[in-house]
Symmetry: none
DNA sequence: GTGGTCTAGACCACG
DNA sequence: GTGGTCTAGACCACA
């Protein structure tokens, strides 16, 4: 894993292990991490990020539970092949509703902190284009 | 407060009081709740949402700290007038970086759960248009 | 009661009725209100201060309980003669400890808000001299 | 934290969590608690004081909001370095007025309970001297 | 009526 | 081990 770089913010309200999980998952989803690729060892990454090794271990465990990676004693942790899960229709509708509400709540939070609406809208467009293009 | 409707999901990992805060803040930001308007009483809303009154009280207190509402003993809780905060340039850039990263992480999480990328992109466009229109 | 003037701050965290009680009690202790003197009616004072008449009524009731005033239906509320209570030695020591701790906590709170220590010390001296002189 | 000792009075009208906040803040202001020092855990202090752990947790949260301490999941709560705040002139005058009124009200309350004026004056002098010396 | 504080104790999240 | 959230329900303070 030389390409994508992890960055965690210890002052953030989001817990360290969650930041690691979120970013690694994103790398998997976006393809920055490919199946078969090896992740750094728990202790190595812990040192690099300046966190406790338990924190990294917990993040790896969570990702393994989600089916993104495979951890095994004595062997490097590797990214798994991942079949696209196609949820049932009902579940998908529920996901969409949840997505929409959380997205709007999140945007309101950023606006409340002073991020101008046009900048937010611009960013949303950019990301949307990336996903479609 | 007859217009906007709160909905909380007790099975969500996001704590109930946080969901209440996020949604009420959004109503304030989006104008669904207007300054001077009275919120339902702590105990009333608690019954409506099916949570304990302490949970709602904590949410109200958090919103009061953020400056969105005013809570006082023996009187109804009301929405406050809110001056637009214009953060400094440096702070704004930091906010934008944070926004971008959290947005991408969030999207990856939804994709991981099986929400198709095109649906997500579509939603992003819709929301962006609403904000600009 | 034309002399001493009540002023209450509705934005203060200290409840309105408490501010009224504290100030009237102080006037009694300091002699600004003398025994036999009549207080304004509940409703009159409520209008003057801009609070609900129940709030003033509650304050009067509290002061009556403490023995400072006498309230009676249909007659003006009057300040009572007040024998100096001389608490028992043990109780007095307890009072002194409590006084000292609350005083120091209070001072720390003001310093935390940015009031310079010399100003505070100066004020303490002034008040001490007034009490002795 | 072996030095300063907390004492709370459950019979006092001042809520327990407030007493904890007031005293810990005082220790920070007076230097009895130094930056970097660790506070006892929420549950530990709760047992020591004979209150529920929620009560202590609330006090810690309040102090964290004021910027005196840092609380984090799974790690000990520590005292923060604290920049001296220098309020604006107008704000300072407001603080002084507020200080004076609250001080006089407080003294009147203690006198009403039977604390002799000379003892109070003496205490005020002592504290003033400590602050100047 | 309103909101505030507290206790009892369960269960979760984090490092 | 740490702190966080929540419920159940009692009791108080305030207008």
């Amino acid at each position: 894993m030389t390409g994508p770089v992890l960055a965690i913010d210890l002052k953030s309200p989001v817990p360290a292990y969650r930041q690691i999980v979120d970013q690694l998952r994103r790398f998997c989803v976006e393809g920055a991490l490919e199946p078969g690729e090896a992740l750094p060892s728990v202790r190595r990454l812990a040192v690099d990020l300046g966190v406790h090794h338990n924190t990294v271990a917990e993040a790896y465990r969570a990702l393994a539970l989600e089916g993104w990676i495979e951890v095994a004693h004595g062997r490097p942790t590797v990214v798994l092949e991942r079949a696209a899960t196609a949820p049932k229709r009902e579940r998908r509708l529920e996901l969409e509703r949840s997505f929409e509400r959380r997205l709007r709540d999140f945007i309101a939070e950023m606006r409340a902190q002073g991020l101008p609406a046009p900048r937010i809208a611009g960013r949303l467009r950019t990301v949307a284009e990336e996903m479609e293009g």
